[in-house]
């Protein structure tokens, strides 16, 4: 505990939020991540690029605690989280979205956004409603507005359109008031106009919020991020500013075959 606290203090001084050291994930014989190192600073806006199967989502899963790494170390705010189950992440201010939406399909938009907040507070075992709940409800409604769902706030999530479900997915991550948000392909399946709205939303986030973004849409990724990391076959192959990445020959080589897929409508 003591060493944890000391580590946390020193990490804070450096402003380091997330630290991955030689993270390896193997699914049977398939190595999805082959020793990834990554450091994310407070307030970072980092985009993760790479072709299908590069291991981007697996990296998210490791950070979020949904997948335990085969080897390596995950440190969040100076606390070793390698073995910590997913449900302890929200207390560290971590929130994520899923590539394939994970909503409470039988509950309304408002209840989805409400529930997203109660887990962290410990209120979920309560049988009575209280003032805190009113606050959560208020915030849920405000978030519905933010992610353009105010007019469908009473609709069950399962009945929403695909685009609306993606918006709710993002809302559920943001409504927790996170310090560190991970968005897994938030723009996939959105129309051009919706993508533009999304970029504006991401740019309007509190600058203190740290953002890790997986995005196949280069335009969205390079506009929303200040730093880019490119992965291929479970390894980091390039990293730099959006401008550097735009002209990086290696990135072009990796993307050349699938350029059309990257820019076009991704499934």
């Amino acid at each position: 505990m003591n060493t944890d606290a000391a580590a946390a203090a020193s990490a804070d001084r450096r402003g380091s939020l997330l630290n991955l050291e030689a993270v390896v994930v193997a699914f049977g014989g398939l190595q999805a991540l082959g020793g990834v190192d990554l450091q994310v600073w407070k307030g970072d806006r980092l985009a993760l690029l790479g072709p299908n199967g590069a291991g981007k989502t697996t990296l998210f899963n490791v950070i979020a605690g949904d997948v335990k790494p085969t080897s390596g170390r995950v440190t969040i705010k100076g606390i070793d989280c390698t073995e910590l189950p997913a449900r302890f992440r929200p207390r560290l201010g971590v929130a994520r979205t899923y590539q394939k939406t994970r909503l409470f399909r039988g509950l309304t938009v408002e209840d989805n956004l409400y529930l997203a907040q109660t887990g962290r507070s410990g209120r979920h075992l309560a049988l009575l409603r209280s003032g805190v709940d009113a606050e959560f409800r208020e915030r849920a409604r405000a978030m519905a507005e933010t992610v353009w769902l105010a007019d469908v706030i009473g609709v069950t999530a399962g009945d929403l359109s695909h685009g609306q479900q993606r918006q709710l997915e993002i809302g559920m991550a943001l409504v927790t008031g996170p310090e560190f948000v991970m968005l897994d392909e938030p723009a996939s399946g959105l129309s051009r106009g919706e993508r533009e709205r999304l970029v504006q939303l991401l740019l309007s986030l509190d600058p203190d919020i740290t953002l890790l973004l997986i995005e196949h849409d280069m335009d969205v990724a390079l506009r929303a991020a200040q730093r880019v990391m490119v992965m291929n076959e479970g390894e980091t192959v390039a990293s730099g500013t959006p401008d550097e990445i735009r002209v990086d020959p290696l990135v072009h080589a990796i993307y050349l075959g699938s350029e059309a897929g990257l820019r076009g409508a991704d499934p």
Binding site: A86, R105, L115, M172
Partner: protein, 366 residues
């Protein structure tokens, strides 16, 4: 949408009132009133036999529906838990000098009830904790295993189950020789259980349970302790099944291991399926159909040619369940719901209004 100009407080209370006066609530209230008045005009057999049994099975089946509809867990252990309560009552109340078996503690019947409910709740907590990491078919299998093991445990620990059962279990004086009172108490208890489960659905606890039903992975990543939540829901359902078990043993006057074997366990699941595992009122509806079929249908012409009595009943119920499953996976409650929506659409059509589909899309909610 909301009436403009009205004070927000009044608009709010009017909205609350309108919500309370939904068609569903009105029907349930009417059914409750009918059930409470039944002793005034129903035959003794119908009240003390058919309807009393309906209420007991209804409460027990409601715990299955509660777990299935809100928690996504189909439990086969509910009849076992009712049986645990029954055995505890039996062991506790039978007097030392009575001509019966079991522990014969000779306690006050109300103390026995508290004891039985405490034991049942504790057992449910342990069983729930052990099953809380599984879902779907695995949860079903684990709870089926509980039911089978429970049967053998009571069968082999004879001091507890008194070789072949405990007999002469008397209800408390309040109900002894007053079957109508017992029936009325069961109606009141049914209403309490029904209301409690429905209110629970909108509490933070109930909403989180439904979140776990829809996506446990998301819930964990939002900071919820999913298995603890499942365990607590299972414990609550176990306690409620215990209540049904207490009345069951009072009503039967005896209990033996066979009465918690796989047969009655599956019967209770059938009750829940007939009514519809997604709707709470379906539990009592299913119980009524089941008990009525058990008591009346076997003497029907044609049916009376099928084998012996038990086979007759099983055949009828089997066909019934098959029909309902084919017609409506949501059981009778689902069928009623569809008829209601169909009627509403007809009304809309005859009024020439095109605003039908939106309402029709809002399907049945638990």
């Amino acid at each position: 949408m909301s009436p403009t100009g009205a004070a927000p407080g009044r608009a709010q209370s009017r909205r609350t009132l309108r919500r309370l006066l939904s068609a569903r609530n009105v029907v349930v209230a009417a059914a409750t009133a009918l059930a409470l008045l039944l002793p005034l005009f129903g035959s003794n057999f119908f009240v003390e036999f058919v309807m009393t049994r309906t209420m007991i099975l209804g409460i027990a089946a409601a715990t299955i529906v509660f777990l299935a509809a809100y928690g996504g867990m189909v439990s086969l252990a509910q009849y076992l838990l009712a049986g645990v309560a029954g055995f505890m009552v039996g062991n506790a109340v039978v007097a030392q000098d009575a001509w019966s078996k079991g522990l014969k503690l000779g306690w006050n019947p109300w103390v026995a009830v508290l004891f039985a409910l405490a034991v049942t709740t504790a057992v449910a907590f342990v069983l729930g904790a052990l099953a809380s990491r599984t879902t779907g078919i695995y949860f079903l299998m684990i709870t089926l295993t509980y039911a089978v093991i429970g049967y053998y445990v009571f069968g082999s620990i004879t001091p507890l189950s008194g070789f072949g059962g405990i007999t002469g279990i008397d209800p408390p004086g309040l109900f002894e020789d007053h079957p109508q009172r017992m029936y009325l108490a069961l109606v009141v208890l049914s209403v309490l259980v029904y209301v409690a489960f429905r209110v629970l659905a909108v509490t933070p606890f109930g909403l989180a349970l439904q979140g776990i039903r829809d996506d446990p992975v998301r819930m964990a990543s939002l900071g919820f302790n999913v298995s603890l939540h499942r365990t607590l829901a299972f414990t609550l359902a176990g306690f409620t099944a215990g209540l049904a078990g207490v009345f069951n043993v009072w009503w039967n006057g005896q209990i033996d291991p066979t009465s918690i074997s796989i047969g009655p366990t599956l019967d209770l699941l059938i009750v829940a399926v007939i009514g519809g595992t997604l709707s709470l009122e379906g539990a009592w509806l299913g119980a009524f159909v089941f008990v009525a079929a058990n008591n009346y249908l076997r003497n029907l012409p044609l049916v009376d040619h099928i084998g012996i009595t038990e086979a007759r009943f099983n055949t009828i119920v089997g066909v019934l369940v098959l029909l309902i499953m084919i017609l409506s996976p949501d059981g009778l409650a689902g069928i009623i719901d569809r008829i209601r929506l169909g009627l509403r659409r007809l009304v809309h059509l005859s009024r020439g209004s095109g605003a039908g589909p939106a309402e029709a899309a809002a399907g049945s909610k638990p």
